[in-house]
């Protein structure tokens, strides 16, 4: 038995989303089981199956450094202040 991760995509606007997992002896049966377990009522029209052994993990510790990079954002405060000053001067 292999363990697969199941991803479903609903329509053109949505991205693929993780739906769950399943055990199957091979890819062909995994597809059938995925359809019958996760897409009985048109929950998606496209299906991705990934053998769990092939999933490469990035854990929270690996991603954490990027949570502290304020220079990658702009909160717009400087511009808002400038526009407010212009409005107030003009009135």
């Amino acid at each position: 038995m292999r363990r697969y991760e199941v991803f479903l995509k609903k329509d053109g606007r949505d991205e693929f989303r993780h739906a769950g997992s399943l055990d199957a002896p091979d890819d062909e049966l995994a597809l059938v089981l995925a359809r019958e377990s996760y897409a009985r009522r048109a929950e998606g029209d496209r299906l991705w199956l990934v053998n769990r052994e092939h999933v490469i993990l990035g854990d929270p510790e690996f991603i954490a450094p990027n949570a502290d990079k304020p220079h990658r954002h702009n909160d717009g405060k400087a511009i808002a202040e400038h526009r407010r000053n212009v409005r107030e001067d003009g009135s």
Binding site: M1, H18, A19, G20, S21, L22, D23, A24, P25, D26, D27, E28, L29, A30, L31, E36, S37, Y38, R40, R41, E43, L57, D59, P60
Partner: protein
């Protein structure tokens, strides 16, 4: 791989702040055991429910309802399948290990599946009252459950349980408008299933219950039970049926219904596998597992091949 917590206090503060635990987090063992036991019982109940539903496929009246029962059987078995995967990932037991424990009578499943559905009226009472009770308790878990994989899979399960409950109410509506014989049959089913359905919620939640403290559940049993009574008493009475509870009281000012004293002995017996139909149900499920052994063997021995390629 995932997150770690330095102490139980640290972990509980994370949960109290609305934190969601993922499968690869280093969760405290007590939490792992509690969430696993809860999921395992849910999975077992879906499977036992699915097997009962299957027994009713040939006996369901009318093609439309027969097809709906077929679909419901597939849903329940599917729910069990999804839940066993989520349970297995907690690595407390393997997926086959959970099934073996169930068929050997070593693990729990909901009280209502320890009783026998004898008539079509019973099936209607189950799909209406019991499914509604199960749905209400699942919704209370889904709303705020701290274990991410379970919460996400519940979303799918709940949407399908909604179909079952509406189908049950539609059947009850038809029976209520039926002949005197049909109405008598359903009243008998109501007499038999009212209390087991009500007891599905369990006794009052104890102070310090870990399922509540760790945000696995988000509502107390007695609150869910009371709101179920509040909903179903007036509904069943509006169809002209009698609630088999002599202690039932109505507060006309607030228009609220409160059930009388509850005898918890039947629930305790089912939890000890001593319910009226426990032995037959478990033996039946075990026989089904043995009968389908050849399918699993064929799958295990199948030559591996990729999709879309020649065998």
């Amino acid at each position: 791989m995932g997150r770690t917590w330095t102490s139980m206090d640290d972990f509980e503060a994370f949960l109290d702040g609305g934190g969601i635990v993922e499968v690869d987090d280093d969760m405290p063992d007590a939490y792992r055991q509690a969430v696993f036991a809860f999921i395992e019982m849910h999975a077992n109940s879906e499977l036992m429910g699915g097997l009962t539903e299957r027994d009713w496929i040939p006996r369901t009246p009318g093609l439309r309802h027969k097809m709906a029962v077929l679909a419901k059987t597939q849903d329940e078995i599917g729910h069990a399948h999804l839940l066993y995967m989520v349970g297995a990932d907690l690595t407390v037991k393997t997926r086959p290990g959970m099934l073996e424990d169930l068929f050997a009578g070593r693990s729990k499943f909901h009280n209502v599946f320890h009783y026998q559905a004898k008539t079509w009226g019973d099936q209607v009472a189950i799909s209406f009252l019991v499914d509604a009770a199960a749905l209400a308790s699942q919704q209370a878990v889904f709303k705020n459950c701290s274990y991410g994989p379970y919460r996400r899979i519940l979303k799918r399960i709940i949407s399908e349980e909604g179909f079952h409950m509406r189908m049950g109410e539609e059947r009850m509506l038809r029976i209520a408008a039926g002949t005197e014989m049909q109405r008598t049959m359903f009243q008998q089913s109501l007499d038999d299933w009212w209390w087991p359905a009500l007891q599905l919620f369990g006794p009052d939640t104890r102070p310090g219950d870990v399922l509540l403290r760790w945000h696995i559940k988000s509502e107390r049993n007695e609150v869910l039970r009371a709101s179920w009574v509040q909903k179903f008493v007036p509904l069943l009475m509006s169809y002209g049926f009698t609630i088999p509870d002599p202690g039932l009281t109505h507060d006309p000012a607030a228009d609220t219904w409160t059930s009388g004293p509850i005898d918890w002995e039947p629930l305790k017996r089912t939890l000890a596998m001593g319910g009226p139909d426990s032995a037959r149900r478990i033996a039946d499920a075990a026989a089904n597992w043995a009968d389908t052994h050849w399918v699993r063997r064929v799958l295990d021995d199948a030559p591996t091949r990729a999709a879309g390629t020649a065998a």
